[in-house]
Each structure stands twice: as structure tokens, then as C-alpha cells.
Symmetry: C2
């Protein structure tokens, strides 16, 4: 079992006594070098006849480098079984009672990140085309991200920022997209965090009731 | 346990002996009347002190009416715990080795349906803005759907259509978006089916290897 650094201990305890656990979380070293080492280790163990489990948080095929690992494993001749997970792009909203689609309110959802070249231009194009926009890893440059989105949808579009979705120390804030960065700063919301923008954020609000999130 | 008609028997068998199962699949009757009856039944059971599980296939908050059920339950004063699922919008691609995002190939994914007024206009806008486009429930009007998308991205953009994703009778076809409807007709691909459009469809192809899907 090769697992990320952020897998909850309770999850790892589900492994049977015969399982050998190796943490391969990306801490220190360049990210690409670490990724190459993880893939090489999987191939090494598979060729030694081991059944290798690569456990990631979220869905590894939604901005989780699962596709890259799959490509390299297939190229090495390793048989692969893919088990999809629940992506934080969708679970973040659900954990605060916000569905990404809702009949009469939102008929489309787009998921992206705020990383890489051209990301602000991509955010503007997506904001114009979709009802609900989810931006993963949005905390670091939140002011720039929200300004780009607000320039297309206006500063009043409802938004929510969810930090550490589904963890015991999950926190979230809500507010208009034009204000959410300031609100997040005031509340000291830490990364990693997922931004959700759209009318779905306020569509279900029922006064005086709380949503219990698992 | 109020479950949809399409939940696999093996899943239902995971229930303990104390669980009472009721199938509330939408078969016959108008869809909205059925939905109202399901919600009313949940509220009735909750008010009687029962712990009610509403089990759906996929993720009920991605075009699954989960948001509507949540809204009505909260308005009725019922405490709700939301457990996100794996949406077929993402699992369909993964089941055939297609990640919806891939570094250097796709930095965004949009999910929508081909249902409702304005859906063709919405499809064109999303196709222009996103790298990967996923259209759920795309089989019924696939020719119209693919024509709308091809009018924006061109007829050669790679596409895949996955029917009954992750079921034992799952089937899929691949081809250029301009040809995929004809290919699906020739292969007698049945609904429900999910359409995936983007360069990710062909990005991982490795000759002579198969991907085992769970």
C-alpha cells in the first residue's frame, strides 16, 4: 500500500495485518522527482509479484495525477484496476449542503484549478459558460482568482470556500464572490481549500437548520 | 432504506438483518409525482423516529435530485447527513481508462446533461470553454448533442460513449465526436450512457494493453 501523507489514520487501520504500508506523500524534493519515484516504486513492486494499492485522497483522476500514473504503469506492462474515489471538487460543496447542480438553478458544473499558465483566462471562460464553477486549490491566490471570476459574473454571485473538506478540522465561509477573499482572510481559512461559485451556494439555505456533514 | 430501482442486489445485501428495504425507483407515474412521494415517505419515516437511508446510484448531488430532496427534508425539520457518492460523470471515463483531467492535456472538466430547454446552447458554450466535456444521459438525443459539440470543437475531437458504467453489462465505444453517434448506433449502445469529449480520451492509449475496470 503506497499512500499519500494526508490519508486519515482511521482509513489506514482498515488494512489487514498482511498489508505493508509505505507513505509516499510529497514532502520535500521537487514534485516531479517525487512523482517519478512513486511510479518507479509501484512498477518495481508489481514486477516483484506484489499486489500494489496506490491510495490517494479524493479522486486521483480529477487533478490528482492518477492519469499520469496510469499511463506510466500501462507503458510498463503493469495490469491496473482503477477504483474511482469521491473528488473533493464535489464533496466540498456537499459537506456544507451545497449541491453543484439543482433543478431550475444549475444545469452545469465546471471543475478546474487556479494553477498553471493561463489559469485566469481559463477561469473567466469557464465562469461565463457554466452555472456552477468549482476551483480546487484556490486558497493561495484567492484574491486573484475571485477577481477574475467576478469580472465575468459580477461581484454579487454567491460563493463558498471550504477548507479541508470532510476532515474533522474542516472550515468554511460564504459570501459574494467579490468579498469572499476578504472574508476568508478575516476568518484565517487555511489551504487546501475549494472554491464554489454559483447560485447553488445560497439556493438551499433554510433558516435555523444545520446540515450534519459526514 | 429507500433505494432506487437500479441499485445492484449485491449492494443491498450489505444491509443488516434489521434493515427494512423499500424500492422507490421511478417506474411509471409522472417523475415529479414520484419524487414528491419519495420525499413525503422519507419525512413520514423520519418523523416516526426511524433512521432513514436514501440510497441512490452515483452522486445524488450531480444531476440526481439530491439537492431537491435535501431542501425539502430541511424545510420539514429533518436532520440530514449527506454522504457523497462517486458520480458516473467521472467514473464512466475512469472505467475505460480515461481521466477527465491530465497534466498538459486537460486542465478543466465540465459536466452537464443534454436535457431541458437551452441544453444545446449550453453544450456549445461549455464545449468552447472547457478542455474535457462530460454529458450525462446523452444517448437519447446523441446525434443532436454531438452535432452541437462538433460545431464548436470540430468533428475530429476524440470522444467516448460509456453505457451502464461500472455495471457488469457496461459497454463503450470511442471515435471522433463527428462520428460517435453513428458508431454508437452501429454497436447498438443502449441508454443510459455518458459522453466524454476531449483529448483525454486518446491521451493514455497504450497499444496491446487492457485496463481492468472495477
Amino acid at each position: 500500500m503506497l499512500h499519500d501523507a494526508l490519508i486519515a489514520p482511521a482509513t489506514l487501520e482498515l488494512c489487514g495485518p498482511q498489508a505493508i504500508l509505505e507513505s509516499v506523500g510529497k514532502r520535500g524534493g521537487s514534485e516531479s522527482a517525487q512523482q517519478d519515484a512513486i511510479t518507479a516504486r509501484m512498477i518495481e513492486l508489481a514486477r516483484a509479484g506484489r499486489v500494489v494499492v496506490r491510495l490517494k485522497g479524493g479522486d486521483p483522476f480529477v487533478f490528482g495525477r492518477g492519469g499520469e500514473e496510469l499511463r506510466d504503469l500501462l507503458a510498463a506492462g503493469v495490469d491496473v484496476v482503477v477504483v474511482p474515489g469521491v473528488t473533493s471538487a464535489l464533496a466540498a460543496g456537499e459537506s456544507i449542503g451545497v449541491p453543484v447542480t439543482l433543478r431550475g438553478i444549475a444545469s452545469s458544473v465546471a471543475i478546474t484549478t487556479a494553477q498553471g499558465t493561463g489559469s485566469m483566462s481559463r477561469l473567466r471562460d469557464l465562469a461565463a459558460a457554466t452555472d456552477t464553477l468549482v476551483v480546487m486549490m484556490a486558497r493561495t491566490n484567492l484574491t486573484e482568482v475571485t477577481a477574475a471570476i467576478a469580472s465575468v459574473v459580477g461581484r454579487e454571485r454567491p460563493a463558498a470556500l471550504v477548507s479541508k473538506a470532510t476532515w474533522t478540522d474542516q472550515r468554511s465561509v460564504e459570501g459574494p464572490i467579490g468579498d469572499i477573499a476578504r472574508i476568508a482572510d478575516s476568518a484565517h481559512i487555511d489551504p487546501p481549500a475549494t472554491l464554489i461559485v454559483g447560485d447553488v451556494v445560497t439556493a438551499l439555505t433554510v433558516s435555523g437548520l444545520q446540515l450534519a456533514a459526514l
